[in-house]
């Protein structure tokens, strides 16, 4: 197998990505040192550029660990973002709910007020008459109730008078007793 065929084989593996590091070095050495046929000039440029690029990139020893760290960090931040977004959403929903209930409340109050506004009296004289009439009505009903209480008070007064008479009567009874005692005393002396 001549040199050119050998190089072509390695090139094939190089493009497939299965060339070993040594083969890649061999290719690089070939394209740097020897006169390269015209048909391989494009491959020469590519191989040398790749080699240069590989030299420029330094692969640190702890690359795997760093990549894993980054992945873990990314996952954590993603979880955090998700949690924050859930909180934000619930907060937003609660806020909207409050606004909605306030809106409903205002709407309902306004609705009732506007409904009742149509019955509001706009003529001051009629308003005065209606207010007076309402108070008269309240008064009449109030009076009907309290008159019963007044009757009870009258009964109470009567009971008080009877108890006063009772006191007088018990006082006179005591005087009678005293009179009887006096009489008995006189009889004993005689």
């Amino acid at each position: 197998m001549d040199k050119l065929t050998h190089i072509k084989e390695i090139l094939g593996r190089f493009y497939e990505g299965s060339a070993s590091l040594q083969e890649e070095k061999e290719l690089e050495a070939y394209f740097l040192s020897e006169k390269v046929p015209e048909e391989l000039s494009a491959d020469k440029e590519f191989v040398l550029a790749s080699a240069k690029l590989m030299e420029a990139i330094e692969i640190p020893d702890d690359l795997d660990a760093k990549i894993l760290d980054r992945i873990t960090l990314a996952e954590q931040s993603e979880r955090k973002v998700r949690r924050i977004s859930v909180y934000s959403l619930s907060g937003l929903a609660a806020g909207l709910l409050i606004l909605f209930s306030v809106y409903l409340g205002i709407l309902r109050e306004n609705n009732l007020n506007s409904r009742l506004d149509q019955y509001a009296i706009e003529d001051p004289e009629r308003a005065y008459q209606e207010a007076r009439k309402a108070l008269e009505f309240v008064s009449a009903k109030w009076n009907a109730g309290t008159s019963e209480l007044n009757n009870l008070q009258e009964v109470n007064r009567g009971i008080e008078s009877i108890s006063t008479i009772n006191k007088i009567s018990s006082g006179s009874r005591e005087l009678n007793l005293l009179g009887n005692l006096k009489k008995a005393e006189n009889i004993t002396i005689q």
């Binding site: 619930s90 907060g91 609660a94 709910l97 409050i98 209930s101 306030v102 409903l104 409340g105 205002i106 309902r108 109050e109 009732l112 409904r115 009742l116 506004d117 149509q118 019955y119 509001a120 009296i121 706009e122 001051p124 308003a127 005065y128 209606e130 207010a131 007076r132 309402a134 108070l135 008269e136 009505f137 309240v138 008064s139 009449a140 009903k141 109030w142 009076n143 009907a144 109730g145 309290t146 008159s147 019963e148 209480l149």
Partner: protein
């Protein structure tokens, strides 16, 4: 969790603030219905009436009595056949929210006086009449209600009975 609790409390409070009172519900239900009469005298009208200057002593006592009143709302059922309405009024109005001032029960009529107090002042006065013979009625007076001056107004208007309100103080 704390935020959720605060939010729930806020929602509850909001609901409470805007919850319709029983009186509002009654007016909402019956105002404008056939067979019912609704009369509303609002705070604007009372302010207006309080600015009218006159030498009439009756009107002056009316002004004194209504100086703190914000509104009078009247709902009556016309036609005399209104036992159901009056009973509904007595059932709907939550007695726990109001203090019972007086209840007068007669054979054909029940009259209930309710008040709502705030800071030792009467803020709402309700008169409910449930009658078998006469029209049922609900009168709601709101504002800073001075029962004593209403009583003096009644005597000024020569209305018997209102002077008894003075005994409440």
């Amino acid at each position: 969790m704390k935020k959720v609790l605060i939010t729930l409390v806020f929602i509850t409070l909001t609901g409470t603030i805007f919850a319709q009172s029983a009186v509002d519900k009654i007016f909402n239900k019956y105002a404008g219905k056939d067979g019912y009469t609704t009369v509303v005298i609002n705070s604007f009208m009372f302010k207006f009436l309080s600015k009218i200057e006159t030498n009439d002593p009756e009107y002056e006592s009316f002004k004194n009595a209504t100086s703190g009143i914000e509104s009078i709302r009247i709902l009556t059922q016309d036609g005399g056949n209104s036992a159901g309405f009056g009973k509904e009024l007595l059932n709907i109005l939550p007695r726990k929210e109001y203090e019972e001032l007086m209840v007068v029960k007669e054979a054909t009529e029940e009259v209930v006086f309710l008040i709502k107090e705030e800071g030792g002042k009467v803020r709402e006065f309700l008169l409910i009449v449930s009658s078998q013979d006469d029209d049922d009625a609900l009168i709601v007076i709101t504002g800073n209600i001075d029962l004593e001056s209403i009583a003096s107004l009644a005597s000024g208007l020569d209305l018997p009975g209102m002077e008894n309100l003075q005994d409440l103080e």
